[in-house]
């Protein structure tokens, strides 16, 4: 096995690991706006879906994710 192929195998394993972690393990707590209450936990493809639609936003003062009061954005651009 060449050195390049060895690097490829390591990177491939790392990418599969990242993909599996993002798909199966990663989860974030989302709070109700202005309240100290977790309303849902979001992870995997749902996390991408909700972050792209901006249905969850970051409350920078509280340092946590909260449900957007503005509602979903169909076109983020």
């Amino acid at each position: 096995m060449s050195a390049k192929r060895l690097v490829a195998a390591v990177v491939l394993a790392a990418c599969v690991g990242m993909l599996a972690y993002g798909l199966l393990v990663q989860s974030v707590e989302v709070y109700a706006a202005g309240e100290d209450k977790v309303v849902k936990k979001v992870g995997g493809p749902d996390l991408i879906y909700e972050s792209v639609r901006r249905t969850i936003v970051r409350d920078s003062q509280a340092g946590r994710l909260v449900v957007s009061e503005a509602g979903p954005v169909e076109c983020p651009t």
Partner: protein, 288 residues
């Protein structure tokens, strides 16, 4: 030329012509599939969370998948690591390198069509290829953390595909408008693609920059077979991105378009062979 050489030349020409024809069809099909060409309300569900590493804006109502740049930006602005997007991006990159740039990317397809316009083409200096890495680092990874995703400093704010497929769609069908900044950048990028073949991919595209990183050791790669090389230099002349597949078959700029297959000595496969430069003093892949 001997009869054998003539036959081999014909076979290579046939292979190259066939591949070129297939690539156009795949690009068109990929554009249709990635955008489904039906409004979102007609479709039961977008492929939720599926990131395909090509420039295809999910702001377009017809988009079937998500652009990794937008996903990475949106998630970083929430201070959440986009593991899923990064993993999917890396997985495609390590297996196929920049193949998706040459065969699937809708904006790459548009650039290939623009390149058909017969105007003098310019070969940019090599350093211009490094701009895209700065775009990837600054406008995709740093900007969302520092200024947020609604800033013009975030790449989506100037992305030509977003301007055409998302803002343009909205302006055409839903009464939206396109900002002058977006139009100016779109004009710049289209002009760039007119005078430099795949100019946007080579100089600006952050997805291309990310995938270029993998080209050096991806499983799929070009191979240079010195034994089959007649030193006709056709691979150098045909290459749309001005790399020398003979000298550097694993160039980060290679988009696997297959134009260099008109040369006998270039092949593309998943085999584990060192693709080193001819005459560079290194080991030369000399497969039989």
């Amino acid at each position: 030329l001997s009869e054998l050489d003539k036959k081999a030349t014909r076979e290579v020409a046939d292979r190259s012509g066939w591949l070129s024809s297939v690539r156009w069809k795949v690009q068109l099909l990929a554009f249709l599939v990635l955008n489904s060409l039906v409004p979102a309300s007609w479709r039961p569900y977008r492929l939720k969370g599926a990131c395909v590493p090509v420039l295809n804006c999910h702001g377009c109502p017809a988009a079937a998948t998500y652009c990794p740049i937008g996903v990475i930006g949106d998630m970083l602005s929430l201070r959440v690591v986009p593991w899923l997007a990064l993993g999917a991006f890396g997985l495609v990159g390590i297996i196929f390198g920049r193949l998706s740039c040459g065969w699937i990317c809708p904006f790459g397809f548009l650039q290939d069509l623009i390149a058909k316009i017969p105007v003098p083409k310019w070969k940019p200096p090599k350093w211009t290829g490094y701009i895209k890495y700065a775009v990837l680092g600054g406008m995709v990874f740093v900007a969302p953390l520092v200024v947020g995703v609604d800033s013009r400093w975030f790449f989506c704010g100037i992305c030509p595909d977003a301007t055409i497929m998302a803002n343009g769609w909205k302006a055409a069908f839903d009464g939206g408008s396109v900002s002058s900044t977006r139009l100016i950048f779109l004009g710049i990028f289209l002009l760039l693609s007119l005078f430099v073949v795949r100019g946007f991919c080579r100089m600006v595209c952050p997805i291309g920059a990310g995938l270029a990183f993998f080209n050096r050791f991806s499983l799929l790669s070009l191979k240079f077979k010195k034994r089959w090389c007649s030193e006709c230099m056709q691979c150098l002349r045909e290459c749309p991105v001005d790399i020398g597949p003979m000298a550097d078959p694993r160039s980060p700029e290679c988009i696997y378009c297959g134009q260099c297959f008109k040369c006998h000595g270039i092949v593309m496969d998943f085999s584990d062979e060192a693709g080193t430069a001819a005459g560079a003093g290194g080991k030369v892949a000399d497969g039989a």
